[in-house]
Structure formats: structure tokens, C-alpha cells
Amino acid sequence: MTVTLYVPRDAAALSVGAEEVAQAITHAAATHGEQISVVRNGSRGLLWLEPLIEVATPAGRIAYGSVAPEDVPGLFAAGFLRGGAHARLLGPTEEIPYLKRQERLTFARVGITDPISTADYEAHGGWRGLRNALALSGADIVEAVIQSGLRGRGGAAFPAGIKWRTVLNTTGTIKYVVCNADEGDSGTFSDRMIMEGDPFVLIEGMTISALAVGAEQGYVYLRSEYPDAERVFEAAIAAAHQAGYLGDDILGSGRTFHLELRRGAGAYICGEETAMLESLEGKRGMVRFKPPLPAIEGLFGKPTVINNVITFASVPIILDKGAKYYADYGMGRSRGTLPFQLAGNIKHGGLVEKAFGITLRELLYDYGGGSASGRPIRAVQVGGPLGAYLPESQFDTPLDYEAFAAIGGMVGHGGVVVFDDTVDMAQMARYAMEFCAIESCGKCTPCRIGSTRGVEVIDRVRQGERREANIELLRDLCETMLHGSLCALGGMTPFPVRSALDHFPEDFGVPGKAAKAA
């Protein structure tokens, strides 16, 4: 009897040896005369346990974690093809608490299916949202997305349905749907995991969007740092086309949608939507003035829906199970779920999809298990390089767009980067300015010049040169960048800098106030 095995093809799994494990298994199976079929799935998101392989048994899928090629002979000897006991055995995958306690809507299929099999996708609930959408008017689709409360998951959290309605209501005959897959924030990898683990959900979401607004051409702008995602996604586009889910006559409906992947070239700024449009047009990734909004005048001057990967990937379930089903998750004005990414110095790093409202502390300790180094967690950066550094006293903040805005932070793309008590926060503040200087498109002065001056001023502070005066200058500079920059890069670089100053003044050589009094 043929045994089905799952060895991830997710880039994170590959980066720690999944390919070598797959080869060792295939080789050993041949030696032992075992009939096996190896599915290269996405990752379950328990990234500290990668390479995590699974065996399909009559009792369900059984997981073995942290498997190295050297473990493979022992696994065969232990009868792992039938779920045999071994030091690497984790038990039934679905029963692992990290996974069991999640609320996986967007990531429902990631790690479960063969990413490039349209049939497997369909067998696990795929294409139902698209089929429903084909029977609806554009306005009805838009209404469902509005009712779901889905907000842009790329960081800005603008209501997706409202954006779609703007594009729907434009009169142009040529419109575009563009997916921002320029996931440049450190500590984020959910876009990558979707594109490698369940690419059809993104294709389906973009197709539904195209049906809603009347677009026939779509682009996915993927960062060049993700070659594995590019390979999987290109294969998925071809498979979807072949099976009639993309192309000139989607599922025999007479509706058209073509999708193309475009590769970025290592510019962080192209994650900003108007810079991305410039890049897609074959130009330097310079930020555009707004207005006009891209929804009115976007790609090649045409009305354009722009959403991030997770936003589009959350649409199929809304059209499948209804807006209310999705909106029943979450808190306040943050409806639905967010795939959080636990990264950096964390023991159990990985992907945790939960409804909005979970606290940072729950993520860090109940899921993350504390720091990887075993030292106390001192600072956490949520929302990428432009997000604030949060001290322990703020760990009980619920992850909700408004609650985070209230403490000067942002949920952003849901990336959580953890630092232990060896971190030098003045150095991190300097890095924030340095990164802005490296990645600035150069169009506006506060960002282009301010970031370089920021590095210099922080250097002076760290050297103890007129410390008080230079800190005041730094705060003044932050104020200028915040209000005077054209886009979020210059406009939000002050967040990590100011939060480092506010919460960790001792690292800048200033006696701590509130922190020390406690």
C-alpha cells in the first residue's frame, strides 16, 4: 500500500533542510521497498519545528518535527510510515496545541493541501467563493466584502470593500487588480507562506475582486527576495489557467481575468502602493502624490484595486461562508482574523492566525513560549520596521487596529519581532533611521535628508555629545519627518525612534524615568 508523506516546500522549511530530508526519505523508501508518495506541501507554520514532516495514517496525519536527514534511517526503523514512536514524534498534527488553538480562516488549507493541485484545492473547499461570486453582481460582491469588515492587511487597514466600490463606480472600461506581494517588513512572512502554501486562495481572491470591479487584467508584484514563492506561484497561475479558473472564459461564465506575476528588484519602497505602480510601469519606484487615488487613477492611469496578499486571500472565505461568518471573529472595528507572525528572538516562532483581540502577551508567551535565548523579553516591534518598540508594560494591549493606534503603535502586517534584554535600543533607533536612508526613494526632503541627519544625531547622542540638546533635536527631526514626509516610510520611521526614546531612555544615556521609578 502506498503511504502518503508530506514534506514542506515552504522556503523556511527548505532553509533548514527540508529538501535534503525529502531526498533522504525517497532514497530510504526505495531501499526498504516501501511504496510512498511525497506531497510537497506548504508549512503548517510551526516554524521552530521545521523541517516538520507528516505521515498520513488511518488515524489521521502524524507529525515528526525537527527532522534532519540523519534521522531518516532511524525513522524507518521505528516504523514511522505507520506512525511509529520515535524521538521526533509529535503526535497527530491537528492536536498540537500551537495549531489546535488557532482560528485558521485565511490559512485554512496551508500545510494541508498540495499547493499546486487545483483538484486538492477544490477538495478542501476551494473555488466555492468564486462560484458564488460568478452568480452575483459586482455591487453585491462589494457589499459582501464591506459587510465582512475586512480591512487592508498590508498595514494601512483601509476597508477593502470601500476601495473596491470606488473602483467599481469609476466609468473606465480598462481597470486593473494589483496584488502587493512586496512583503518587505522584517518579521513578516505570511504573504510568502500563502503564495508557497496555498497560492490558489490568492488567485481566487483576486479573481473575485476583478469580477467585482470589472477588471480583466491583474498583476502580482512579488519581491525578488522570494524566489521559492515565485516558482510556486507561477506554477499555480499556469495550473489555474489550464483548469479554467483564469483566462478568457472563467468556468464557462464568459468572464475574463488574466493574471501575471511581476518581480520587484530589491527596493523596500515598492511596498508603498504608488511606488509599486511606478515599478510595475517599468520606472523608478518613486512615490506618487495622492490624490489622485490609485482607485481612480492607478496603474497606467487606470482605476486600480490594490490590496495586499492576505487581504485578497481572505476574500474567498467571505464569499463562500458569508460576510457574517467572517465578521463574527474579531473585536471593535477590527473584524475577522489576522495571521500573526512570531519572529526574531522567540522560542516558538511561526504563524499564528487568531481573531483580533488576542493580546501581545498571549502571543509572546502562550504561543511563543518566551524568548529563544531564555532571557527576559525586553522589547517587541510590532508591524515592521516602521512600527513602535513596545516595552513589557504594553504587552497586555489587545491586537486591534484602534487599540494599537491608541498607544502610538500599529498592528500593520501582523509581524511581531522579539528582542531579549541584550538589545541596545539606541542602536535599534539608529538602525531605523539608517534603514530609512538606505530605502528612501528620495522624492521628499524630510525622508531623504532627515533620515541621514537622524543617524548622525543618534550617533552624537550615543557618544554623549551634548546629549540633552541632541535628543531634543532628534525629537524635533522626528516631528518634521512625521508631518512632512510624502509616504509612510519617512512618515513612520519616527515611530520606532520615538518609542525607543520614550520607553528605553537609559539606552540613550538618559536616566530612566517611569521605568526606573517602578
Binding site: 532553509s15 518579521g187 518581480r263 528588484a265 517599468g282 526574531g344 534603514f435
Partner: protein, 160 residues
């Protein structure tokens, strides 16, 4: 004689093939430059006029794009390209120490090529943030990179 043995012919073929494939696509300059760099390892400055002509844009436009993006090179890289992540998540797991180690071990700084023909470049996030520190060698991703793992990988690269 095949085009492979003549650098001039090789360059010409790479550029003309890229133009044939991408010049007619909307916003085709980026895929066109990627195609050239994939074939040659860089975008030779002398081919910019030909690209500009094919796309009916100015040489300044092409030059502007080539120089804006971190990925595009205007001179050939070494035999191998190592991209070391220097972003926050990797920093929290010792990326700076790894960067110092890598520079010392290679005897070169970032943006330069070692005597053994290995180009060292910084990169800001490879999306492997739960398996930090991360790096990429010739397009292949490596996670949980310790200085020891770096040395082992380097050894296999430095073999001729």
C-alpha cells in the same frame, strides 16, 4: 562557433532575447532587465542605449531604473553571491555578529567581492524571520545560520 564562446556575441544574444521577450509588454523594462541579469549576472552599461531604443524611452530613463533598484548590478559579481540579512528579526538573533564574522572570514566588506570570488551583499529581510539569522547563496535560502554553518557553506563555495 557558438555564441557561448564569444563574450560579445553572448552579450548581444542576451540583450536581443530579452528585448524580443519583454519589450512589447506593458511596463516591460523591469522584466527585461531581470532577464539580462539572469543571463549575464549583471546589466552592462553599454547595452543601455540599445534597451532605450527598443522601448522608445531615453537612456536616462533606463539608467535611472538600473541604478534605483538594489538588485541590478552594473559590473559582474563574483562566482557566488551571498546575501546576508541585516534586518531587525535577524539582528535579534545575532545577525550583526554574523555579519562581522562573514566580513572577517571573506576578507572583504559588504558590496564587495572576496579574493576567492564571493560577493557579499546586505539584504533587508528574506522572509525567514522565525529561523533567523538568514542568508541567501545564489538564490537559495538558509536559515538558523551560525558562524559555524556559515563557514561550512563557505567551504563548499570556495572549492573550485
Amino acid at each position: 562557433m557558438s555564441a557561448g564562446s564569444n563574450p560579445g556575441a553572448q552579450l548581444h544574444a542576451a540583450v536581443e532575447d530579452a528585448i524580443a521577450l519583454h519589450a512589447g509588454r506593458p511596463g516591460g523594462l523591469m522584466p527585461l532587465l531581470h532577464a539580462i541579469q539572469e543571463r549575464l549576472g549583471y546589466v552592462p552599461p553599454q547595452v543601455l542605449p540599445r534597451i532605450a531604443e527598443a522601448l522608445n524611452i531615453t537612456r536616462a530613463d533606463v539608467h535611472g531604473v538600473v541604478t534605483f533598484y538594489h538588485d541590478f548590478r552594473t559590473s559582474p559579481p563574483g562566482r557566488h553571491v551571498v546575501k546576508l540579512c541585516r534586518a531587525e528579526a535577524c539582528q535579534s538573533m545575532g545577525a550583526e555578529a554574523l555579519a562581522q564574522h562573514a566580513q572577517l572570514r571573506l576578507g572583504t566588506e559588504f558590496h564587495h567581492t572576496s579574493k576567492s570570488g564571493i560577493t557579499l551583499e546586505p539584504v533587508y529581510c528574506l522572509g525567514d524571520c522565525a529561523c533567523s539569522p538568514a542568508m541567501m547563496i545564489d538564490g537559495r535560502l538558509y536559515g538558523r545560520v551560525t558562524p559555524e554553518r556559515f563557514d561550512r557553506l563557505l567551504q563548499s563555495m570556495e572549492q573550485p
